[in-house]
Amino acid sequence: MEILGIPILNAVTYLPLIGLVVILLVPRGRDTLIKWIANITGFLGFLVSIPLILNWDSPAVTAQMKHGMRYVIDVPWIHSIGARYMFGIDGISLLLVLLTTLLGFVAILSSWSAITVRVKEYYVYMLLLQTGMLGVFMATDFFLFYVFWEVMLVPMYFLIGVWGGERKLYAAIKFFLYTLLGSVVMLLAILALYFKYIAVYGWENRTFSYFRFLEMGLDPSFQFWAFLAFFLAFAIKVPMFPFHTWLPDAHVEAPTAGSVILAGVLLKMGTYGFVRFSMPLFPQATREFTPWLMVLCIIGVIYGALVAMMQKDMKKLVAYSSVSHLGFTMLGVFAATQIGIQGGVIQMINHGISTGALFMIVGIVYERRHTRLIAEYGGLSHHMPIYATIFLIMTLSSIGLPGLNGFIGEFMILQGTFQVPELRVWAILAASGIVLGAAYMLWLFQRVMFGKCEKEENRRMKDLNLREVCTFVPLIILAVWIGIFPSFWLRYLDAPAKAVVERMQLTGRTISAQVVTPAVPPAPTAPAAAAGPAVPAE
């Protein structure tokens, strides 16, 4: 599958870079032109990703499937260390890639009037961030994965640090160091896997390929430490309790679009990392850690909700609600049942939609009033009915009203967890989140939208303009779509969820039994036809 002769995954990933280069060529000060280029790039980025889903089942694509991945690109990259340029997506990555391209576009569109200083740099960083995030969801070579993982960190640091609020430097550094700490430990684990592989299969077969690593039989103590290392990186990113305190600061200080991307996509890298890497690579360790992970998830759900309830700052409230929602997501994933994982992944998407929208909702009044304190508002429904409608829909989506997207995810997570008899109690505890969620979100809505509109500044606020409405329309459509026809989306998660579950059921012994003996090294993967001349890996 190619677009203009470029493999489609490359096209999707690097299209933002083209826009970036064009923006760099525009002289400083031509702000409108820069905005237009960025918006068009964002929109094109979204359009280019649509064929991914349209052609998903076309014979040309399914015929070239490898390891359950589609649109595979596999070319040699750094021969000396065995790193290859490997891209490929399965259903889980597909949904996350689509979410990223959509939210990227929406976030860029929502920045139009919010960003007034250093416009050029702002959009450059936004587009760079976009490429970094997409790469993370597509890379299947650990070296490549790590490169993208770090690439997306830098633009986010600048987005918070330059265009952020009052405590932007503190927040930016906290965000950066926190994430970096996790990723460095993860890098160590990746290197451990790398050398382990070399120790088994020899230096000439050196590789960073995720699929090769999967074939290794890993002994329990290695799994234990490697799982912990990956856990630190991903748990910080999710974030899971008690690694979550960078999140409220980063969210509160980040510009609106930064918060949207942060909540909508960046946090999903943690959850994605667990599903994609931690669980299949270290099934035994995951199972051993499951009770502890469940405890952390439940603490996240309840703790996040209770803390959210008492926040005075709207953005901080939404940020803590993220902690709660992601606790839910991780619960489903760690339950390691098919619908638990499906529910978890669909909840990642739901969270991206509803929380992304909620951050934009906060951003809209912030742009008009320059305050995020709940007490400063009240009675906005009188003068902003369209805003009120959208806010209400997204509130309902966030608290999991059936008919909208949140319910599907929550229910599947709960059912997926509940079906495992040992995990029932966690499902029951987590379900209390539906009460708390309603309490803090509806209270927020009431305090901001209901009551008398007493402040003169609030009375003068304008309702949404057409551009602002446009940023919400796709999110609302998706919220309803996932709520009413979830099967359309769940279909893509069937096979990958099943694969993870089956992988989790393997023990150390059966993994080694699957492995081809060291005497016969695994055949070097033939590069995809689309990816240039066939060069052997070694």
């Binding site: 209770l306 619908i339 529910g343 008919g403 599947m412 009460v435 309603a438």
Partner: protein, 689 residues
């Protein structure tokens, strides 16, 4: 679409279309084109679509009735809602229901059977009348279109609730009506109390839903299906649980949900506050339809509840307790709508009492007659409130029968019905419940129910006397507005009045004729386990019925003496001391919940937020500070120790060289002297060695 009644799927969809069209039209007209939405258009569409749903419903029920009794269960698959991966189920009993692996599939399918047919007609029929009434009631309101779009959305959700063929669809409707209730209670959102009441309703309902959803999880994890029919098929040969088992757990959890939605103890607290909503909302949602969802749910799950005797007893116990407690709370309320609200809670208690005695048909019959007369009472109250320009305090009413004869006449019918006077509808349904409680051996329940019936007669008479008789205490401002309501409001009152009178005649007691209603519902309960009722003579049953009428008469007489003869008005009641205080303040339950649940929750939230800031972030910032500190130390070390060493070397070299430099004077005689001295010294060493 498929099936013998192909248009079933349209019935819920029609009001949904009304919601979407009116909502968008109103929003766009009002904000973008800055004009007022055309009220005629909005009202016609909203009511027209509900009318269409009602007519289709009638046709469907007619077709259903044409089928032979055992085939009266028509399912229609509309689409597959959720299709996920496999779920392992545990099975039930010792292999009675085998464990296995089933795909997680939820259908969007409609089920029309005698039970959902009754609900369908009540919801669309009463709903239609209230929609029409609301045209008049809400005409002057700026949120006219918003009101009707939410009302239509409510109709959609309620229809999904009663027409779905599985528990997840029921849950969708369940939460949907809950949301509409939230939105409509908070309709006058500029009032702080309205917003509070809406939020309270939703959150308290969510507490119930928590139970419901865990029950559904357990149900699916055990049986592997949400579908009523398939479930009934799985359990139909099972005996009742002797001890507390999985079925008891499931039904108990379901009942928690029912308590939330149908305002039973301990979750009833939201309903009286819900009266903040416009009166047609109170009539439709908080009296006739939504609050009866719990009754519907238990009845629908009859095959589960009758196999869990523990739960069923609890249902009955909670029912009668609520019936009595709420009747007590209703006694001295001053707000006309609050009296009716507590009355609703109490009447719902009756319905649950019926279910507790496994008299499901009696419960549903009371649900239906209650929908007629309570909707009428609320609409009548609305008509009064409308006429008195939003006066709701009974203190400022009185003698209204002269000014509003039609409202009076219609409300009188509803009043007689709720008091249980023969031959009004309420008599048949309420008496059937009391009789069934007695006949099934629940004598305590019967006694409490009878007492509550007396209280009901008392507070309803008080309400009628204080509004329509007694002395005229209307404020001059309200008096200026006083008028009988327009026809668009009174016609629905008349229709409901007729129904309040004749509604009970389809379910006559045995001493009077045949209970057609029970016979109609019978196929729904074919998988229930019901104890054989002991046989009593018709004469005895008749005597019991007359007994309950007599109790009602005592209540009426007492209230008449106090409020009409002695002319007591609400202001005078305040001097009645502790008893009045406790009843007027509803036994201080709200205050208790606030102190025991809400405040601790908020306190915990604050505590955890502080923990987050001080402990966790304290640790993070502490790490940062420690890093900075150690950096400072190593900086100092670098500067003074490491660099110090380097500099020391340089210093030594410099100083030593400074000394040595003096040797290199560059003056030839010095060198010559040094050479000579050297030769002398070396020579001496050589010679004196």
């Amino acid at each position: 679409m498929n099936g013998p009644i192909p248009y079933l799927w349209l019935i819920p969809l029609l009001p949904l279309a009304g919601f979407a069209i009116n909502g968008l039209y109103g929003l766009i007209t009002q904000r973008v084109r800055e004009r007022k939405p055309n009220r005629y258009l909005v009202a016609t569409l909203a009511c027209g679509l509900v009318l269409a749903a009602f007519v289709l419903g009638l046709a469907a029920c007619y077709e259903l009735a044409q089928l032979p009794a055992e085939e009266r269960s028509v399912e229609q698959l509309v689409f597959h809602w959720i299709q996920g991966g496999d779920v392992a189920t545990t099975g039930y009993g010792a292999g009675a229901v085998a464990p296995g692996t089933v795909p997680f599939q939820v259908e969007w399918a409609i089920l029309l059977d005698p039970l959902s047919a009754v609900m369908l007609l009540v919801v669309t029929g009463v709903g239609l009348l209230i929609h029409v009434f609301a045209i008049g009631y809400m005409w002057a309101d700026t949120g006219f279109y918003r009101f009707f779009s939410y009302m239509n959305l409510f109709m959609f959700a309620m229809l999904v609730l009663v027409l779905g063929n599985n528990y997840l669809m029921m849950f969708l409707g369940w939460e949907g009506v809950g949301f509409c209730s939230y939105a409509l209670i908070g309709f006058y959102f500029h009032k702080q109390s309205a917003g509070d009441a809406g939020k309270k309703a939703f959150v308290v309902n969510r507490v119930g839903d928590y139970g419901f959803i865990v029950g559904v999880l357990l149900l699916f994890a055990t049986f592997g299906t949400f579908n009523y029919g398939r479930l009934a098929g799985l359990v139909k040969d099972l005996p009742a649980e002797a001890h507390f088992g999985i079925l008891s757990a499931i039904t108990l959890l379901f009942f928690i949900g029912a308590c939330g939605k149908s305002a039973q103890i301990p979750l009833y607290v939201w309903l009286p506050d819900a009266m903040e909503g416009p009166t047609p909302v109170s009539a439709l949602i908080h009296a006739a339809t939504m609050v009866t969802a719990g009754v519907y749910m238990v009845t629908r799950s009859n095959f589960l509840f009758t196999r869990a005797p523990v739960s069923l007893e609890l249902v009955g116990f909670v029912g009668v307790t609520t019936a009595l407690a709420a009747a007590l709370m209703a006694l001295f309320q001053r707000d006309i709508k609050r009296v009716l609200a507590y009355s609703t809670v109490s009447q719902l208690g009756y319905m649950f009492a019926a279910l507790g005695a496994a008299a499901f048909a009696a419960g549903i019959m009371h649900l239906m007659t209650h929908a007629f007369f309570k909707a009428l009472l609320f609409l009548g109250a609305g008509s009064i409130i409308h006429a008195l320009h939003h006066e709701q305090d009974l203190q400022h009413m009185g003698n209204l029968r002269r000014h509003m004869p039609l409202t009076f006449a219609t409300m009188l019918m509803a009043y007689l019905a709720i008091c249980g006077i023969f031959p009004f509808s309420g008599f048949f349904s309420k008496d059937e419940i009391l009789w069934r409680s007695f006949a099934s051996g629940h004598y305590v329940f019967y006694g409490i129910g009878l007492a509550a019936a007396g209280l009901t007669a008392f507070y309803m008479t008080r309400l009628m006397v204080l509004t329509f008789f007694s002395t005229e205490r209307i404020t001059p401002e309200a008096k200026h507005h006083l008028h009988e309501s327009p026809a668009v409001m009174t016609v629905p009152l008349v229709v409901l009045a007729v129904l309040s009178v004749v509604g009970g005649w389809i379910g006559l007691p045995a001493w009077l004729g045949a209970n057609t209603f029970e016979h109609w519902l019978e196929p729904v309960f074919r998988y229930a386990i019901r104890p054989e009722a002991p046989h009593f003579s018709h004469g005895f049953e008749f005597a019991m019925a007359m007994g309950s009428v007599a109790v009602a008469a005592i209540g009426i007489g007492l209230a008449y003496l106090v409020y009409q003869r002695r002319g007591v008005v609400p202001d005078q009641e305040m001097t009645w001391g502790r008893l009045w205080q406790a009843l007027y303040h509803k036994f201080y339950i709200d205050e208790l919940y606030d102190a025991l649940i809400i405040r601790p929750c908020k306190g915990l939230g604050n505590l955890l937020a502080a923990f987050d800031l001080s402990v966790i972030d304290g640790f993070v910032n502490g790490t940062a500070a420690a890093t900075r500190g150690s950096a400072t130390v190593s900086g100092w070390f670098d500067k003074y120790v490491v660099d110090g060493l380097v500099n020391l070397q340089a210093w030594i070299v410099q100083n030593v060289s400074g000394v040595l430099r003096r040797l290199q004077t560059g003056v030839a005689p010095n060198y010559a002297l040094a050479i000579v001295l050297g030769i002398v010294i070396l020579s001496c060493l050589y010679i004196f060695r």
